[in-house]
Subunit: 198 residues, 4 copies
C-alpha cells in the first residue's frame, strides 16, 4: 500500500504556501516554483492537486474569504440589526496583524482580478454575498427602528454599497498610509453612529 495522503490537506498546504508568499512578497512573486518550494515540495507536485496556477490563486482567495466568513459567523451569533452590522464592519478592518495580512492578500487579488476573468468571477460572487448580508442587516435594523429606512434619501442598497466601499477604502489606506489611517476604527464607528435615528 502506498502512502495515502489527504488530498484536501495537501491542497490546503499548498494554498497556505501561496498565501504566505503573496503576503510576504506580493502576488507577482507567487510563481508555481516559488509556491512549490515554499510548501516544501518539488514543482511538479502541484499538478496532482491543482489543474493550473489560477486554481491555486483562486483557492487562496476563496480560503481567505472563507476564513473571514467563519470568523464572522462566530462573532455574529446572537447579534441582530445595528449591533451585528457594527460587528461585521469592524471585523473587516485590518486592526491586527492577522487581518492586515488578509487585507494585503485581498489588495493583490484586486489588481489581478482586473485581468483574470476567473478570479473576477469569484471575487464578484463573494462580494455579492457580503453585500446581501449587509443589506439585510440594514433592513432588520430599520425594521427594529434603530435606523431610518431611508438615510437622507438614500436607499438601503446605496447605504450598503457605501459602507462596504468605506471598509475597503479604509482598509487600503491602513496598509498604504498607516500613519494617517490610524483611526480607521473610530471613523467607521462614527459612520455607523450617523445611521442611528435620533
Amino acid at each position: 500500500m502506498p502512502k495515502i495522503v489527504n488530498h484536501d490537506e495537501r491542497r490546503e498546504e499548498v494554498v497556505a504556501a501561496a498565501r504566505r508568499i503573496i503576503l510576504r512578497a506580493g502576488i507577482e512573486a507567487a510563481t508555481t516554483r516559488a509556491i512549490a518550494k515554499e510548501a516544501g515540495y518539488s514543482n511538479g507536485v502541484l499538478t496532482h492537486y491543482f489543474a493550473d496556477k489560477d486554481e491555486i490563486l483562486l483557492s487562496a482567495l476563496r480560503t481567505s474569504h472563507r476564513r473571514i466568513t467563519e470568523r464572522l459567523a462566530e462573532k455574529l451569533t446572537g447579534l441582530t440589526g445595528l449591533a451585528a452590522l457594527r460587528e461585521l464592519l469592524l471585523d473587516n478592518l485590518p486592526m491586527d496583524e492577522e487581518r492586515e495580512r488578509e487585507t494585503g492578500l485581498e489588495i493583490g487579488f484586486w489588481a489581478r482580478s482586473l485581468t483574470s476573468p476567473a478570479l473576477l468571477r469569484t471575487q464578484r460572487e463573494e462580494a455579492a454575498d457580503l453585500h446581501l448580508l449587509v443589506r439585510s442587516l440594514l433592513q432588520s435594523a430599520a425594521e427594529a427602528g434603530e435606523i431610518a429606512g431611508e438615510i437622507a434619501g438614500e436607499g438601503l442598497d446605496d447605504t450598503a454599497e457605501r459602507l462596504l466601499a468605506l471598509v475597503d477604502g479604509l482598509s487600503l489606506h491602513r496598509l498604504l498610509y498607516p500613519d494617517r489611517a490610524s483611526r480607521i476604527e473610530e471613523i467607521m464607528l462614527a459612520e455607523l453612529d450617523r445611521l442611528r435615528l435620533p
Copy 2:
C-alpha cells in the same frame, strides 16, 4: 561631438508611452520593448534614461498623479469650500473610460506598493498632498459656515480621511463590481450633502 538631447524631455516621452500602453492594455502589457516601440525608439534607448523598468513605472505613476492634479487645478479655479471639494471628489471617481483606466492603473500600483518601498514612498508622498488639500478645503468650508467644524464629533482629519477612503473604495468597486456600483456618483454626492449645515 555628441548629439545633445534634453534628458527630461526624453524621459517624459518614454513615460508617456508607458502610460499609453498601461491605460490601453494593462500594466502587464507594458514590457520594455513595447514601451520603447510605443515611444518610437529602439529598445536599447531606455538604458540611457532609466536605471531599470521599475523606474519607468514609478515615473508613470508620478505623471498620472500630476495629471490628475493639473486637471483638478483647472477645474477648481474660482471654486472654494464645499463646491471645490465636491468637484475634487467627483473628479476622482472613474465616471468615464479615461478615468476608469486611470483607476485600473492605480489599483495595480496599490498592490505593487505593498512590496516595493520606492513605490510606496511615492504613493505616500502624493497621497499626503491630496489629504492636505481635502483638509484645507474642509476647513475653508467650515469657516465659510457651509459645514460644521466638527461633523458629529469627528475632526477634520478624520473627515478628510473618510472622504478619501470612500473615493478609493467606490472607485475600486466601480471597476470590480460595475453592476452593483453604478451609482457611486450619487452615493458620493449624498455623502457630501450630509456634511452640510442644516
Copy 3:
C-alpha cells in the same frame, strides 16, 4: 504470498490500451499516465511489465501488425493467386476510419523508426514478412497463368516491392491529401488489372 498474475495477459491489456489511445487521439496523446488510466491501472503498474515507454509503443506497433495479419489471414482463406493478392492489397488501404487510424499510427512509426534502432528492426522484420507473402502470391498467380512471370521484364521481387510501395504511398496520400486521393482504391485496382495476362 504474492498474487500470481499472467504477465503476458497484463502486457496485452496495457498495449491494447495504448493502441486505443493512439488510434483515438494520436501518438502524442499516449502518455504513460493516459495509457495506465485507459488500461484501468495506476500509473506505477507499467514498471512491472515494461522497461520503459518505448517498449510499450514497440509492442503496440507489433500488435498492430499482428492484427492486420490476422484480419488478412481470415480474408484470404480460400483465396489464391491474384484474387488473394487483390484482397491483401486493398485491405491495406485506409478505406474506413479504423484503417485510416491504423495508417496514422503507422506513419508516426515510420518517422520514429528512422531514429530508433529497436523500432527500425521491428519495422523491418515485419515488412519482410509482408514482402515475402506478396511475392509468393505473385508467384502462385504466375504459376496459375493469371499473370506473367516477368511483368515487362520486371522480376517478381521488384513487382512485389512496387505494389507495396504503391500501397504505402497511396495510404499516405489518403491521409495527407484526402481530396486528391479519393480514388486510391480504383488506382490500386487498375494497377492489379495491368498485371493480368491478356
Copy 4:
C-alpha cells in the same frame, strides 16, 4: 551603429540548424533549445527571427521543397513530355546522400502534419503544385503521342496520383528497408516504360 545582421541570412542559419537536427535525430529532437544551440546561439535569439517554433519547422519544410524545386527547374530545362516527367520522378527518389536526407526530413514532416494544421496546409499546397506539374507533363506527353491519353482506362489525374504515390512509397522504403529497396530507380523506370505507347 550596432551590428547589423541580415535577417534572412539568420533565419536560414537557424532553419539549417533545425534541418540538421531533424535529419540527425528526428523531428522530436528539434526542440527550440536544441535548434538554438546547434545554430550557435542562445535560446532567446530565436524570438528575433521567428514568431514561434512552428514557424521554424514550417520554414524548414518550405526550404526543403524550394531546394527540390530549384534543383528540378535546372534539370528540366529543355526537356518536355515523358523525358521531363522521367527526370522529375527520378530526381525525387533518394538516390544519393543529399536526397536521402531530404527524404528523411520529409518523412518526419508527414507524421507531424497529421497533428499540425499549419504544417498540413503547407504540405498540401506544395503537394498540389507538384501534382499539377506531373499532370501537365503527362498531358503534353499524351499530346505528343508518347503515351496514351488514357492509360488502361485510367485518367490523367489518377495516373499522376499513382506516380507520385509510388515515388513517396519507394522513397520511404528506400530509407526504411535499404536492402530490399535497392532497385527503386529501376522500378520507377519500368513504371514509366509501361506508360509508353507501343
